[in-house]
């Protein structure tokens, strides 16, 4: 039972911090919140370590045959530790960094939400059945909405939060679908029984999980929501992109890979999505002028690489890359936050802060080298492993992964040079410093940089073999050409950008409209707006119009048509009847004349009557649209009787 305490503890402490935190004196608020939040998360981290060592599990029956389960297994345990650790560092940073304008008034809410958010993510990580996963998934989504919309007074933050929430929520439906399919097939939702799913249910389940993961991990075509998520505070981005939220998608694929792989199409589709995202994200990162959006594009690209590894059948490699990426990406966002606060702008063109923020620049260099996958950092090792796994699937996959690595080296260099490069004579000098980094912020970055360096131990064969064995995976066999090719591409990417910069031609702001569109995810948002959002709205408007005009008009027209028909018919009747009359009159019988007169009247009356009836019916049908509730109740009551009667007698 105790394993439940890990997520529940954070989910409880978070709201408490959020509610009581603002009562601390303004001078001590940051200290109290930072210490409180970081302590709560550190406790969860220690608990995760203990749970991982004991590989503890827990269940909670909710009735109706459903059992919620959590387990700190070989993959879940380490990732849980990672989540708690990164969240601890980020919360420390957040309590010092955020809320400069409002003097920390909303800070309690932010820290509380961050802590609870980490708790929800722990639930996702530790989940051992699809229902627990779904619960955690939705909690993560809902809390991410609150976090991204934290600065709700900004005009665009609520809309951006809604965009992120709707995009991931839509994918979340896939998870519900998957859970439904699994439950229908096996009567259970536990991960251990998913292997028994087959047939249509299997395909539905795999498609559902894939949809959910793709949306959460911001892979193509869902990537743009990650740009909207940039409306949130920097520390939120740091947590969101590194070990939570975005990680949830890739993590779900990793955990469920053995099951997903039983669908033959899963591997190729995952590799395709991953590669497209990795390459496209690289290009976007090369063109973005917004500091955080550049990093967001790189996040998508890196998760694309992880999904490639999962698709290639190497989830263990994906876990390693997830860990390495979490460490350096969290640090990059923290650095970006410091830089943005320093110049008071997101614009990379206004930075070049090495002279002003020397320590931040040095620490960031570690993270950018990791992002560029330069040995001997751990991130380089994990990227090489992804490459090896990709080659295992197909040589061209490995080559494309290497190209994506080159791109990431290029945009990593670009970020480092633009944000923390030295000032250039031909560039506008940095704006006056708004605020330099506080000691806590530097410590947070330093801790993460140290972690990145420590991960370099993975290059030692004994270490990475032990780690892979611990994760229950076998490292893919590397071919001899991979490392040289990959390093050459990395070097090329970095060199191209560096030389462009030396010549002062590094395009920090995309020049043309087409470049701008590419930087904005290849105009994908516009495409989505054009292909999904606008048609939906149009359809709704059209349906309303149909209701207003056509249905109503139909009734009107029916009445009018009836009238006109009646006129024509009676005219026709007159003509024919007259002809008959004349014919009969020629015979000169008075009797016939009289009888025809009767017939004429009858026909006319019938036609008139039908027309009158049609008109009245049209009017009467319209009269039911009174908008009065009590009259509609009668319709409902009668309808209920009809339905019940059908249910009773229709069997």
């Amino acid at each position: 039972m105790s394993l439940w305490l890990l997520p529940v503890w954070l989910l409880l402490v978070g709201p408490v911090l959020g509610m009581v935190g603002h009562r601390a004196a303004p001078g001590r608020r940051r200290l109290v919140l930072g210490a409180g939040g970081a302590t709560a998360l550190a406790v969860a981290g220690v608990g995760s370590v203990a749970a991982t060592l004991a590989t503890s599990t827990a269940t909670y029956p909710v009735g109706a045959g459903l059992v919620l389960r959590v387990a700190a297994g070989p993959v879940a345990g380490p990732v849980a530790v990672l989540v708690a650790a990164i969240a601890t560092v980020v919360t420390m940073y957040a309590a010092r960094h955020e809320g400069q304008h409002e003097d920390g008034a909303g800070l309690a809410r932010l820290v509380g939400l961050l802590v609870a958010f980490a708790g929800a993510m722990l639930l996702v990580v530790l989940a051992d059945d699809l229902l627990t996963l779904t619960v955690g998934w939705e909690l993560v989504g809902a809390l991410s909405w609150a976090l991204i919309g934290h600065e709700w007074r900004d005009a665009d933050a609520p809309g951006a939060a809604a965009h992120a929430y709707n995009a991931t929520r839509f994918g979340g439906l896939g998870l519900v679908l998957a859970a439904g399919a699994a439950f229908a097939a096996t009567g259970s939702l536990g991960y251990d029984t998913l292997g028994g799913v087959d047939g249509v249910a299997l395909h539905v389940m795999v498609a559902g999980v894939l949809l959910a993961a793709v949306s959460k991990s911001a892979l193509v075509p869902f990537s743009p929501w990650l740009f909207s998520a940039m409306a949130g505070p920097t520390s939120v981005s740091a947590l969101l992109h590194s070990s939570t939220m975005v990680a949830a998608g890739a993590y779900a694929l990793i955990r469920l890979q053995p099951v997903l792989d039983t669908a033959s199409w899963f591997g190729p589709v995952a590799i395709a999505i991953g590669l497209v995202t990795a390459l496209a994200g690289g290009v976007v990162g090369l063109l973005q002028g917004h500091a955080k959006k550049l990093l967001a594009a790189s996040t998508s690209a890196q998760y694309g690489l992880m999904v490639v590894a999962v698709g290639a059948g190497a989830p263990g490699v994906a876990v390693l890359h997830l860990v390495a990426h979490a460490v350096f990406k969290a640090q990059l966002f923290l650095s970006a936050g410091v830089a943005i606060t320093a110049v008071g702008s997101h614009d990379l063109a206004r930075m070049r802060l090495r002279g002003v923020l020397p320590w931040t620049a040095r620490l960031t260099l570690v993270a950018t080298l990791a992002l560029a996958a330069v040995p001997p950092l751990g991130a380089a090792f994990t990227k090489e492993q992804v490459l090896a796994a990709g080659t295992h699937a197909a040589t061209w996959v490995g080559l494309l992964v290497a190209v994506a690595g080159g791109l990431s080296a290029a945009y990593a260099t670009r970020f480092q040079l633009l944000a923390f490069g030295g000032a250039r004579p031909d560039r506008p000098s940095p704006r006056p410093l708004v605020r330099g980094p506080a000691r806590v912020e530097l410590v947070a970055m330093g801790v993460l940089a140290a972690a990145s360096i420590t991960l370099g131990l993975l290059w030692v064969p004994a270490v990475h073999e032990a780690v892979m064995a611990g994760l229950g995976a076998t490292p893919p066999e590397a071919r001899s050409w991979e490392l040289p090719v990959s390093l050459a591409l990395v070097a090329t990417g970095a060199y191209v950008v560096w030389s462009l910069d030396r010549r002062g031609r590094l395009g920090h702001v995309p020049a043309g409209a087409s470049q701008q569109a590419v930087a904005d995810w290849f105009a994908l948002p516009r495409l989505v707006r054009g292909v999904v959002v606008a048609p939906t709205l149009h359809l709704a408007t059209a349906l309303a119009t149909v209701d207003d005009r056509i249905v109503d008009a139909g009734v009107d027209a029916a009445a009018g048509l009836g009238e006109r028909l009646s006129r024509v018919a009676s005219g026709a009747g007159e003509v024919t009847v007259d002809a008959v009359v004349r014919g009969v009159a020629r015979t000169g019988t008075v009797l016939a004349d009289a009888s025809v007169r009767v017939g004429e009247r009858g026909v006319e009356r019938t036609v008139d009557g039908v027309a009158w009836l049609a008109g009245r019916a049209g009017d009467d049908v319209r009269r039911t649209q009174t908008g009065l509730v009590h009259q509609q109740y009668i319709v409902i009551a009668v309808g209920l009787v009809v339905v019940l009667a059908a249910a009773i007698f229709g069997r």
């Binding site: 029956p61 909710v62 009735g63 109706a64 459903l66 009590h630 009259q631 009668i634 009551a637 009668v638 009787v641 009773i648």
Partner: protein, 214 residues
């Protein structure tokens, strides 16, 4: 209790429940109408006790009494003539309503008479409450959790819908005070302009007038 006593009690309660249910809509006093409904509930609760659903019956007493007291307050607040001092007829489509009502009762009655409901009496007449408790805290736990969440959502929804002010200001913005004379459109006190900005000089009386009903 013997079978005959139970039968007598059942018919008494059933007739009383129906009679009070009928009086709800036929009495002029709104307070009486409310408490007629309560009486109907109490009689149904008594029938439930006879049906050995003892907990449900007593819970009906408890819950419905609270609800009807609240209902009475709303009746007095929203209905003209709450005490029934004047004869009043606030009905529409009376004949259709009677027809549908009788139709529903007769239809369901026919179903009750002709339906073939296989009898299966209670196995453990003494343990109904314990069985209910075990069910609620055991197999139906999920259901009860849903019930709890639903009630929380209801509370939030009711407060949001009915609260007079929100984060973005007063919910009264744009609303208009009632006519003092229902037939005279000019009798509206302190007309609030369409954009929600009340007349600064005469705006106080308008809000005070919300409590009354034309």
């Amino acid at each position: 209790m013997t079978g005959l006593a139970v039968d007598i009690a059942f018919w008494t309660f059933a007739v009383a429940a129906a009679w009070f249910g009928w009086r709800v809509f036929r009495t002029d006093s709104m307070v009486r109408a409310t408490f007629c409904l309560l009486a109907s509930f109490l009689n149904v609760g008594a029938i439930m006790v006879l049906l050995l659903a003892e907990y449900l019956g007593v819970a009906m007493f408890f819950m419905m009494s609270v609800e009807m007291v609240v209902m009475a307050i709303f009746m007095v607040a929203f209905m003209m003539n709450p005490a029934g001092l004047n004869p009043m007829e606030m009905v529409h489509q009376p004949r259709a309503a009677i027809a549908v009502g009788i139709g529903a009762a007769v239809g369901l009655g026919v179903v009750a008479v002709v339906a073939d409901l296989p009898p299966a009496a209670l196995l453990d007449e003494a343990g109904t409450i314990r069985a209910l408790g075990n069910e609620l805290m055991g197999a139906s736990m999920l259901l009860m959790e849903v019930v709890g969440v639903t009630l929380v959502a209801t509370m939030v929804g009711a407060v949001v819908l009915s609260s007079a002010s929100g984060r973005y200001g007063s919910a009264d913005t744009g609303s208009v005070p009632p006519l003092l004379d229902p037939d005279d459109p000019d009798s509206r006190p302190d007309l609030v302009s369409a954009d929600g900005e009340g007349d600064a000089h005469a705006g106080h009386g308008g809000h005070g007038g919300h409590g009354g009903h034309g």
